[in-house]
């Protein structure tokens, strides 16, 4: 036994336990600011814009091309519209979307192991956010930067939208984008109220969740109705010559 002693008393092959998740970096970094800014931009201005875009502006399509054109004209007539769009829509959406993708990348979804409502919502919030972001990028590109300039020719708006929604694949993309964005925003409101400590108790949170779900149905419903409106009418003209130019239409008012 003595002979074995030397072998075992020799320092054991010591293994190193890995570092693992780092402890809290108390008071360090700016991730708090970024995360809260992300949360805030989701409500204002991005959410607020979505609210306006679906419930106010696009719902005018239900009343027909003329009403729709009037709304587009009005929006186009806002002072410094490009800067409004840049600072209150595009940059916030870009930040919210890109930082959101970063958040998504950093989380480890585990809904397979823990298939509970809150966890499904967590997962869904990421997927709907991703889908909505992709849709919005495409939507902004085609509506704002490609094809006819709707600020210059508002009366072409109805037709331009129609041109897209009459294509089945794009129509599906519209519907999916609408549902994803509506869901993401509705549950986002719920998340905002929970994370910012406005509604804290579980029962109250459940009640508020019902409210947010209703809001989702409202958004989706109005959005679908607007889409239906586009598809229910014959294709309206888009050509610059056939559509009245914005200055004229503004004068005619």
């Amino acid at each position: 036994m003595a002979s074995a002693a030397s072998s075992t008393t020799a320092p054991a092959i010591s293994h190193k336990i890995k570092e693992g998740v780092a402890p809290l970096r108390a008071g360090q970094g700016i991730s708090f600011f970024l995360r809260r800014l992300h949360s805030l931009t989701g409500i204002i201005p991005v959410g607020a814009f979505l609210f306006e875009h679906i419930l106010i502006s696009n719902s005018t399509a239900i009343s027909g091309p003329a009403a729709y054109a009037r709304q587009v004209t009005f929006l186009g007539s806002l002072p410094l519209v490009f800067f409004l769009e840049l600072f209150f829509i595009w940059l916030p959406i870009a930040f919210h979307g890109l930082y959101g993708l970063y958040i998504w990348y950093r989380g480890d979804g585990n809904v397979a192991e823990y298939p509970w409502t809150g966890n499904w919502m967590y997962t869904l919030q990421r997927w709907t956010g991703g889908i909505a972001f992709a849709y919005i990028v495409w939507h902004v590109w085609t509506m704002r930067f490609a094809g006819i300039d709707l600020h210059a020719y508002p009366s072409a708006s109805f037709g331009k939208v129609q041109e897209e929604v009459f294509q089945p694949a794009l129509f599906i993309f519209y519907v999916v984008g609408l549902i994803a964005a509506s869901w993401h925003f509705s549950y986002g409101i719920w998340l905002f109220f929970a994370k910012w400590g406005i509604i804290t108790a579980q029962r109250a949170q459940k009640r508020f969740l019902v409210f947010c779900l209703l809001f989702f149905f409202l958004l989706t419903g109005v959005g679908l109705a607007s889409l239906a409106a586009f598809r229910s009418r014959p294709q309206q003209p888009i050509e610059p010559g056939m559509a009245a130019k914005v200055t004229q239409s503004a004068e005619s008012r």
Binding site: M1, A4, A5, T9, I17
Partner: protein, 594 residues
């Protein structure tokens, strides 16, 4: 000025943490050793409460009454002066814990609420729901964490104490410990060490104790020359929930809040307990002990249950179990005051005790015996102190419910400053004359021997045998013949231990070698318990011999002091008179008011 005293505290339960806080507060440096992260220590299991005579219920309670109840409940075996000091300190301890943020239950006015516990007629037990021990431990753990953040305390968690390092003069100079992950054996110097390593439940196989409560550290020190006192006094808690892996405690607070113990009057009555009418239930504790009823001390309740089950054959379904009934108490009150323990029953048995009477049976719970210490918590080896369940000072022959938490915190609060004072009086620092190297080598060799041993015995199986043996003959009812056989069997088990064969010989987080070491120490300590019980021919507190049913103050009002005789490899005994200078002896009876 000399450097700050360096104290090693072994064990991070209530006693250890209490000592750590006191030492840090006095400016000392502490190395705190614990097998588990200290927040996971066994103190968390204490449920019911902590005693202090704050007299907030207008009952005329006083610290003297608390003292008297404790001494009387302990059947006069405890030295009275330290018990008196503890009871006097108790109200201050409660205040301190209250200030530290323990969420004690409150009265309508916002003051501390108190409940009744066994062995007293006063509402003297402060409580935080049914998880008082957990709340108390956390409060101290948080304060220690604060000192740790300030650099005054260094924790060695997942380290196990192996032995004390003694110099040529028999003075303690530090400890030898093993890293339970890397298996590295290392020595640590200190001016003094405080042993706060808790209970010895594992000796009895299944008990209400936690896995780490093996008594291994106490036993190692006993084998190094510390006296072990009153080892034969083992408390069996009357109400535990039998389980496959352990006996889970059903707190005395269940009875404190009005729980009633009964059995069906008809043997073998297997009706649903709820359908058994009042007239066919036997509330035997209430009948036998009209004054204290269900709140007789634990030893008395345990023996009563044994009698009902084994002599009257009235156990539920013929099994060793009786009912503990809470169903007559309002659900809201139960949830507010007992939720934690009811939840345990619900979780581990599957029945709701608010609706169905609980099935319970006595289970090994606590050791009144432990390392011998003086009134300053010092053992007989200079530089070694001890506090908490692992020492013997405060509970005599039987501990009252809710007294252990107070004795832990009080003991630690005495041991801490006493060790600092001792350290400050040390003459220079000894290099130990190579005693550190020697101790390390000795412990390493012992590990190597175990690792390389080619035998046939599985340590876990030996442990099962030990547990069954000790539970059968060294708990509630003791006969000399059986105790002699027990000791003989212990010798046999020690012999078989030499042929132990570890199924794990790796050098990383090897639980087998650590367990084997603990087992050896358990076996050695078991002999102290068995032989101590054999010698004490009387019945006192938890120690009950039907052949000697009376307390015998003439011959046995003595502290049993066991010491290890290395040559004989067995315990030898001395006896020391008990200090009964404050409360005169009187018979202990719970059928009438004292």
């Amino acid at each position: 000025m000399a450097a700050a005293p360096k104290i090693i505290v072994v064990g991070g339960g209530l006693a250890g943490l209490s000592a750590v806080i006191k030492i840090a507060e006095m400016g000392g440096n502490v190395d705190l050793f614990s097998i588990v992260p200290v927040k996971r220590s066994h103190s968390v299991c204490a449920q019911g409460g902590i005693n202090a005579a704050k007299n907030l219920k207008g009952e005329g309670d006083s610290t003297w009454q608390h003292f008297d109840d404790t001494v009387y409940g302990g059947d006069f075996l405890a030295n009275q002066p330290p018990v008196k000091a503890m009871c006097e300190a108790a109200p201050g301890i409660i205040d301190l814990l209250d200030r530290m943020g323990v969420p004690f239950n409150r009265t309508a006015e916002g003051l501390l609420d108190f409940r009744r516990f066994g062995g007293t007629l006063y509402n003297r037990t402060a409580f935080a729901g049914a998880t008082t021990g957990q709340q108390l431990l956390y409060a101290l753990d948080e304060q220690v964490r604060r000192y740790e953040a300030e650099g005054k305390v260094k924790k060695y968690e997942h380290w196990e104490f192996l032995s004390a390092v003694l110099d040529g003069n028999g003075v303690c100079r530090g400890i030898c410990a093993i890293d339970l992950r890397s298996m590295e054996v290392r020595t640590f110097p200190a001016d003094a060490i405080i042993i706060c390593t808790g209970g010895i439940g594992a000796i009895f196989g299944k008990s209400t104790n936690s896995v780490v409560c093996t008594g291994s550290a106490q036993s190692a020190l006993y084998q190094q020359g510390c006296y072990y006192a009153n080892g034969e006094f083992i408390q069996v808690h009357p109400t535990s929930i039998p389980g496959e892996d352990k006996l889970r405690l059903m707190s005395e607070s269940a009875r404190g809040e009005g729980g009633r113990v009964w059995v069906p009057k008809k043997p073998g009555d297997n009706r649903d307990p709820k359908s058994i009418p009042e007239s066919e239930r036997w509330y035997f504790l209430e009948e036998w002990y009209p004054k204290y009823g269900n709140l007789v001390p634990r030893d008395v309740a345990t023996r009563a249950i044994f009698k009902v089950v084994y002599e009257y054959h009235l156990g539920i379904d013929g099994k060793p179990m009786v009912y503990l009934d809470l169903t007559h108490i309002d659900r809201k009150i139960l949830d507010r005051k007992l939720e934690g323990i009811l939840e345990i029953y619900e979780k581990f048995v599957g029945d709701d005790p608010r609706v169905t009477p609980m099935k319970i049976f006595p289970g090994m719970h606590y050791t009144m015996g432990g390392l011998w210490i003086d009134y300053k918590q010092a053992t007989n080896i200079p530089g070694i102190y001890s506090a908490g369940e692992c020492e013997y000072q405060y509970h005599g022959a039987n501990r009252l419910g809710a007294n252990s938490l107070v004795s832990c915190i009080y003991g630690g609060a005495i041991a801490g400053p006493a060790s600092v004072k001792y350290a400050q009086g040390l003459q220079g620092s000894s290099d130990g004359n190579g005693c550190f190297e020697a101790e390390k080598k000795k412990q390493e060799e012992s590990n190597v021997r175990l690792m390389n041993n080619q035998g046939t015995e599985n340590p876990f199986k030996l442990w099962h045998e030990l547990g069954e043996l000790m539970t059968k003959d060294c708990t509630v009812i003791r006969y000399n013949k059986n105790l002699e056989q027990t000791d003989a069997k212990l010798v046999e088990l020690l012999e078989r231990f030499r042929k132990v064969n570890l199924s794990d010989r790796t050098q990383w987080a090897n639980t087998s070698v650590v367990f084997a070491r603990q087992l050896y120490n358990m076996l050695q300590l078991s002999r102290v318990i068995a032989q101590g019980a054999r010698m004490r021919d009387e019945s006192r507190g938890a120690h009950y011999k039907p052949d000697f049913p009376e307390r015998d103050d003439k011959n046995w009002l003595k502290t049993t002091k066991a010491y290890f005789a290395p040559d004989a490899d067995e315990p030898k005994f001395e006896f020391e008179p008990v200090d009964v200078s404050l409360i005169p002896l009187r018979p202990r009876k719970y059928d009438v008011a004292k």
